[in-house]
């Protein structure tokens, strides 16, 4: 009996010696000590509910700019999507099948977005599937690619440049994520947002710059605008099988996958 305990103890000691040290993690954005750090006063506070404005000069789509050149891999999707559209069908409509919209499309859905700004972060909760996005403002770096859990909204880290919040988002998932119809976003994507308030704080303008060397060449840019809506709150919303049973456009017969 005593020999058994001894062997077990030796085995555990040996296992512990073989383990590498756990990485040092940054303090949570909500950690009191992090919140209490002295920081310059931010030039604006996004706390509130925001709705993408829409309209002809402010489309919800992130369409390729004129002259855009896709990679061969992305071109296959783009051509297939164009063919499906001509047949009155959707192409890889992953959002309709309950996959998250992801950045940047989550920002321009018709549902409003609640934004809560604290000294260390901005939390964005979309009325569309309650998608959560966090923009860290506490000076942390992007997570080690070997440790990060990739996501549809990516990992967003912001810093202030004058009256502008510059947000760098990386670490996206590698599939089921689309920039526009037939244009895949991959794990190589990176999106820079330059956010500023306009119209005396009643509107938010974001200039987008997106790169994804696995899908297209160079940088693509768009500018979108949101307006503050003071009569709307975010409510629970889920993509459910029961819902899709009653959405004719999500049926297999309407989709090319």
């Amino acid at each position: 009996m005593r020999t058994g305990f001894l062997l077990a103890g030796l085995a555990m000691a040996s296992l512990a010696a073989a383990q590498t040290a756990a990485p040092e993690l940054p303090p949570s954005a909500l950690a009191p000590a992090n919140l209490a750090k002295t920081r310059p006063k931010p030039p604006f506070d996004l706390t509130g509910t925001w709705q993408h404005g829409g309209g002809p000069n402010n489309p919800f789509q992130f369409s390729p700019p004129p002259g855009a050149k896709l990679t061969p891999a992305a071109q296959v999707h783009y051509d297939a999507a164009r063919k499906a559209r001509a047949e009155g069908k959707a192409y890889h409509d992953d959002i309709g099948q309950c996959w998250p919209a992801g950045l940047p499309l989550i920002m321009t859905r018709v549902w409003p977005i609640a934004m809560i700004q604290i000294p260390t972060a901005i939390y964005m909760i979309s009325g569309f599937m309650n998608s959560v996005r966090t923009i860290f403002l506490d000076g942390r770096q992007h997570t080690d690619p070997d440790l990060v859990v990739r996501s549809f909204n990516g990992e967003s880290i912001g810093h202030w440049e004058g009256d502008t919040l510059v947000v760098d988002t990386r670490n996206f998932v590698e599939d089921h994520h689309w920039l526009d119809n037939g244009i895949p976003l991959t794990d190589a994507a990176r999106i820079i947002e330059r956010m500023r308030l306009i119209d005396k704080g009643a509107a938010l303008e974001i200039e987008y710059t997106a790169i994804d060397p696995k899908s297209w060449e160079g940088e693509w840019k768009w500018t979108k605008r949101w307006r503050r809506v003071n009569d709307q709150d975010i409510t629970e919303a889920s993509c459910l099988p029961d819902l899709n049973e009653h959405m004719p456009s999500t049926k297999p017969s309407q989709n090319v996958r």
């Binding site: 709705q51 993408h52 404005g53 829409g54 309209g55 919800f60 499906a84 559209r85 047949e87 009155g88 069908k89 959707a90 192409y91 409509d93 959002i95 309709g96 099948q97 919209a101 859905r109 018709v110 549902w111 009325g127 569309f128 599937m129 119809n181 307006r227 709307q232 409510t235 629970e236 919303a237 889920s238 993509c239 819902l243 009653h246 959405m247 004719p248 456009s249 999500t250 049926k251 017969s253 309407q254 989709n255």
Partner: protein, 130 residues
């Protein structure tokens, strides 16, 4: 035949969590039938209705709608449409011809016609879009 093809009288209006490619926005159908179900839910409401087709048998049409938040601003309540109601529905149909479409308007038994457009001036709420 209770399903009538009409000119595209209404601007396309829909807000969706999915692609709108399957709907023919250049065509509007008028459906007269009986409400089977009306779901008041996020992210979309929907109406399922029974419509007699030109062969005399019954089709079940699923009509996609926008969110309750948008419908409330258009004057809707969760009780606006009930199972068993005889209604006249206008919708943009599926391109494939299957019974299904995206909501445009409905005339309920009281004679009131409901849309998904805000009652207040458009400036107060952006027009829904796909």
């Amino acid at each position: 035949m209770r399903v009538l093809l009409a000119a595209c009288l209404f601007a396309a209006s829909a807000s969706a969590h999915h692609s709108m490619a399957g709907f023919d926005r250049n065509k509007t159908v008028t459906l007269t039938g009986t409400v089977k179900q009306f779901k008041w839910a996020n992210p979309h409401s929907w109406i399922e209705m029974e419509v007699t087709n030109d062969k005399g048998s019954m089709d079940v049409w699923n009509i996609e709608m926008t969110s309750p938040a948008v419908l409330i601003r258009a004057g809707w309540k969760s009780s606006s449409v009930k199972p068993g109601d005889k209604v006249t529905m206008m919708a943009h149909p599926l391109v494939t011809g299957e019974p299904g479409g995206i909501f445009v308007s409905v005339t309920i038994p009281s004679g009131q016609t409901l849309t998904d457009r805000p009652i207040q001036p458009a400036a107060a709420t952006p027009p829904p879009r796909p």
